[in-house]
Symmetry: C2
Subunit: 120 residues, 2 copies
DNA sequence: CTCCTTAGTTACAATTTTGTACCTATGTTT
DNA sequence: AAACATAGGTACAAAATTGTAACTAAGGAG
């Protein structure tokens, strides 16, 4: 909280401060496709803990990127979605996704090669 | 080091693992414009320490994103540049830059407003 | 009356990232 | 002979991030 222009040396640094960290980008990626409940996000993100998911969502909410809708039900139901402002991040997330896909394909190929070499 | 496909739940997570952190994106941003010497990068990146700059460059080099060219001179001269593979990151860096610029303008406006309100 | 559900919160611990301060190499300049 | 320049390396400390485990709320089901 309490971000300040003078904290940043350039715009890339500022942008990475907002979507950086281990999970915020991943949350945004899943929210690009529409509303998601808390538990749904948890299932979509293997490895995330409830705590980290909560923290990530709260920070994105504070920035005005994510909208949090609480339904007065028991058991509770909470839906998260991108705000209009949040949707301006779409180009970043899509370019991350595209590049990441190719990167993972490369990783996979080199793992397969290492395995084949080991089997002599 | 020793990245593994199974470490990642999705492609965005993988991409952020490569360019995430406080400085790697900023280095890439400056290298988009061409070769840069170590000291030059340091001057372009207020706040970075020699240590963090070295670490960031080393990681990017290991991934094959950045090329390191050492000139046999005294005092030493080392030039860093993007590899062809590194240039595939351009869409990510440009979208981060564009978004970051608008974000910083928003921050600046709200700081000015806060100041004006205080002056009553 | 107890358990189940979802969406959390909290205290604490471990891990990762980042920073500080000092050390190195060596040809050139003063 | 001492100082300067650049591009580091290294040990250690501090700070930030992330993880673990236990606890909570409140209505409905059995």
């Amino acid at each position: 909280m309490g971000k300040c222009v003078s904290d940043y040396g350039c715009s890339v640094e500022a942008a990475l401060d907002v979507i950086g960290g281990k999970w915020k980008g991943v949350v945004l990626y899943h929210l690009l496709e529409g509303k998601r409940r808390f538990g749904e996000l948890q299932r979509l993100m293997p490895g995330v803990t409830r705590r980290m998911l909560t923290l990530s969502l709260r920070e994105l909410e504070e920035e005005g990127i994510v909208h949090r809708e609480v339904y007065k039900q028991v058991p509770p139901k909470v839906e998260y979605s991108l705000t209009e402002y949040g949707r301006t991040l779409e180009p970043i997330i899509l370019s991350l996704r595209t590049w990441g896909e190719i990167y993972m394909q490369k990783l996979k190929r080199s793992e397969e090669n290492a395995l084949a070499a080991q089997a002599k």
